[in-house]
């Protein structure tokens, strides 16, 4: 049934003059003679509906008749999602046959306070700097923050390699506004190592329009919820990268001529973020542990969107350009990276005290660096010299060869147990390795025999 006609088109924003009162917000409309074009209704008044286009609007005609397609974007809600790759609207894009069994609207879900579950076990990642400074437990939301090109995606991939491959969990990967090349690589790698069967992937790539990019998050959440609520599994949710969701929302808000807040963000940004982050929760059915890469625009850590997103995180790992510049990967800023587990009651006194001591050393090291730049290293006191040399060893020690980076570095990856990390760190701090050259600590796993 024809519900209206198109009267205005401006990029992805479309206005439809209505001749029917059956249209609601969230409905999907399409052009009667050409189903290539479809739109989601954003606002309605008694004569017209403003819509955003799910795809390109090039070639769309003024005056075209519009019909209603569905009551919102629906995503497969069955075992058929396993091992498959979808676009943001639930269409498979891995060129294999697909039978739909059951579909579910991607927007209608939330977890109540009653359902949220907060108790869980610690989850070791085998990455020294994460397990030592920002350990996590099942059900955590971990943010991986970094500016452009400091190693967020490599870290996400290493976590997939270490965590997903080693525990018996299901995984959902959501690519939001990221490179298609990396998406294809992830798919090939998972297929090659036979890890695809418990993984579901959704992509809204950086070449896709903003609606597709923002919807991919809701679609990914729907898949994770299926695995948690219907299959009663522990789920790992990898999102690369959640900032692009906000960015896509800003683009849509601009096209809809809404009033924007600082730096062009939409005024309802914090509401949007809350709606998706609260869906990433554990219930008694199963847990969702999420790793969310967070892009820092213009290296501005105080960016409004970044600040809102990180307020939902149980832990955060911050990547720093200055450390990447030294070639020390993963380039983690240990002063800003922490988690809710860094608590004497949760990780034990030994680990906690060591973290404190290492941070004390590295803080002093920073100060000493400035002194050395002016006076030279010889002018330091014996105590400061000790701190200086041991800190350099610590800094090198927390670099690590990664499995997924072997192709770049030519060094095989290492999974390091927490007990080994604690012993090594203790030894460095106590001066056991004072006579060892610092370069011996660069890109290794554990040091002690």
């Amino acid at each position: 049934m024809v519900v209206g006609k198109i009267i205005s088109i401006f990029d992805i924003s479309i206005e439809v003059i209505l001749n029917s009162d059956t249209v609601k917000i969230g409905d999907i409309l399409t052009v009667q003679d050409n189903r290539e074009y479809s739109f989601e209704v954003v606002t309605i008044n008694n004569v017209s509906a403003t819509c955003i286009s799910l795809g390109s609007t090039r070639g769309l005609q003024k005056g075209a008749s519009v019909i209603k397609l569905s009551e919102g974007i629906e995503f497969e809600y069955s075992d058929n999602i396993l091992g498959r790759v979808f676009d943001a609207y639930g269409n498979p894009i891995d060129s294999m046959k697909f039978n739909s069994v059951n579909k579910k609207n991607i927007n209608n879900n939330t977890v109540t306070l009653k359902e949220v579950d907060v108790n869980a076990d610690i989850l070791w990642t085998g990455i020294k700097v994460i397990d030592f400074f920002a350990p996590l437990q099942k059900g955590f939301r971990m943010g991986l923050l970094g500016g452009a090109g400091v190693g967020k995606t490599v870290l996400i991939k290493e976590l997939i390699h270490n965590v997903y491959a080693s525990i018996n969990a299901h995984a959902v990967f959501v690519g939001v506004g990221e490179r298609s090349r990396e998406g294809k690589e992830l798919y090939e790698e998972m297929k090659e190592s036979n890890l695809l069967d418990k993984m579901s992937i959704v992509f809204g790539g950086m070449g896709d329009n903003p609606v597709s990019r923002s919807k991919s998050v809701y679609s990914g959440l729907t898949m994770a919820e299926y695995l948690r609520d219907e299959k009663k599994k522990d789920v790992l949710l990898f999102v690369d990268n959640i900032y692009r969701f906000v960015q896509a929302k800003s683009e849509i808000a601009t096209e809809l001529k809404q009033l924007l807040i600082e730096n062009g963000y939409p005024s309802d940004m914090s509401n949007d973020i809350s709606k998706i982050e609260e869906r990433i929760s554990s219930t008694e059915n199963g847990s969702i542990t999420s790793f969310q890469a967070i892009y820092i625009p213009a290296d501005d850590y105080n960016d409004e969107a970044v600040q809102i997103i990180t307020s939902y995180m149980d832990g955060q790992i911050v990547l720093d350009r200055k450390i990447a510049e030294l070639g020390l990967y993963p380039a983690i800023d240990v002063f800003k990276s922490t988690s809710k587990l860094i608590d004497i009651e949760k990780i034990g006194e030994r680990h906690f005290k060591l973290v404190e001591e290492v941070l004390r050393y590295l803080t002093r090291y920073k100060e000493l660096e400035e002194i050395i730049a002016i006076l030279g290293i010889e002018e330091l006191s014996e105590e400061d010299k000790r701190i200086f040399y041991r800190s350099r060893k610590l800094r090198y020690y927390f670099s690590q060869p990664m499995f997924v980076a072997e192709a770049y570095t030519n060094i095989p990856g290492q999974f390091v147990k927490i007990e080994d990390i604690l012993i090594d760190v203790e030894n460095i701090l106590n001066g056991v390795y004072d006579n060892v050259d610092e370069s011996k600590f660069l890109f290794i796993g554990k040091y002690h025999e």
Binding site: S8, K62, G149, R181, G264, N410
Partner: protein, 442 residues
Amino acid sequence: MDDIWTSNLKDTVDSIKNNNNVYTTGKVVKVNEYNVEVTGLNDVTFYEEVNITEKASGYVFGIYSDRVIVALVNIKEEIKPGDMVYALRKEFKCLFSLDSVGKVIDVFGNDLIAGKRFDNLVELKVENPPLPLMDRGLVKREMLTGITGIDLIYPIGKGQRQLIIGDKKTGKTQICLDTIVNQKDKNVLCIYVALGKTKKEVKDIYYELTRRGAASYTIIIASFHDELPTRTYLTPYVALSIAESFMLQTYDVLVCIDDLKKHADIYRQISLASKKTPGRDAYPSDIFYTHSRMLEKGCQHRNGGSITILPIVETKGGDITDYISTNIISICDGQIVLSSKNFTKGEKPAIDYGLSVSRLGGNVQDDNMKKVGSKVRIELLSYLDVRQIYELANIDEMSEDLQRRLREGKVILDNLKQYKFSPKTKKEMIDSYKFLTEKNAK
């Protein structure tokens, strides 16, 4: 003004009566600098090609209930309110000729050096939809530049997007030209896109490439600042559309875009003129998408063809963390950062080895290059770090290990110096670092 509205209504009624509505027509009601507002055009499609009598042409940029905005790409004569507008019932496309190789062209079918129009023109879509994920292959073939600091340490692969970023006068364009010249006899089609460069600069580049025998496989596409901004905005998209049509025929294509900062500024100008709400630094919110969908065209196709893109971004004061730079860094597969400090010190190419990155790294190198490259990179970065700290220290009191690192580091850095247009082969690169690898083998 009343006249226009009445006559427009009369025209429409007449054409319906006579049933001779070959084109949908409209009339200009407002003329802006590079767009016009039109009434009529009642069933026009978005992005349709439009002529304004014989005076100008453009495409449909926005459709409202009562008027249509037409972006102009070509103005021959001054447009006046009341001029007739014809919609051509087809998507706006650009023109390209296969004779373009070795020439300087624009994207509307003109040979700019000869100053005439090509004869055998084909129409090309400004933009094609993104390539399906499964049509992409893995990037693993090398694209050699002949520059040691790039090929060995931060290699570029066919299908990769490697940003070249740095201040004015740090040799950004030179790296592109070196790369183009180094593709001789390698079956790579090169496209150099000059955006907002001066006419003098473009002519210099044309002569330079011709003199070095690179013209036979290179197309230079130029758009200048004194043209309509819409033309400059469209040019890189069309350049990639051209590249895409060659990639689909299994060609390897290299596209250098010089530079995207100017493109961003032009897009900002157009957006603000069309009253889009400005965001950070007054750029519109979709500035990321503007570049991401453009650079996503760079890829390895599973049919064997590829598009490698080397976009250039000019920075100020060596700051690569500003909005546009970080956006583009986050889209690309790595960046070559050029530093003016290195440039003035005579360390040319002036690559900042700490800030440069290749996200594909060893994936695109052969085993030998990979082995030597990763060794050189680690030793070099550790030298640059150590050098800073021990700058004031007494060398005789240092440990044996440290002295060796400082000594070798200096040689590593020296070996990376290279004059322009003096490419090295892979063997020469590997040989110059024998002292590192052989010692390791012992």
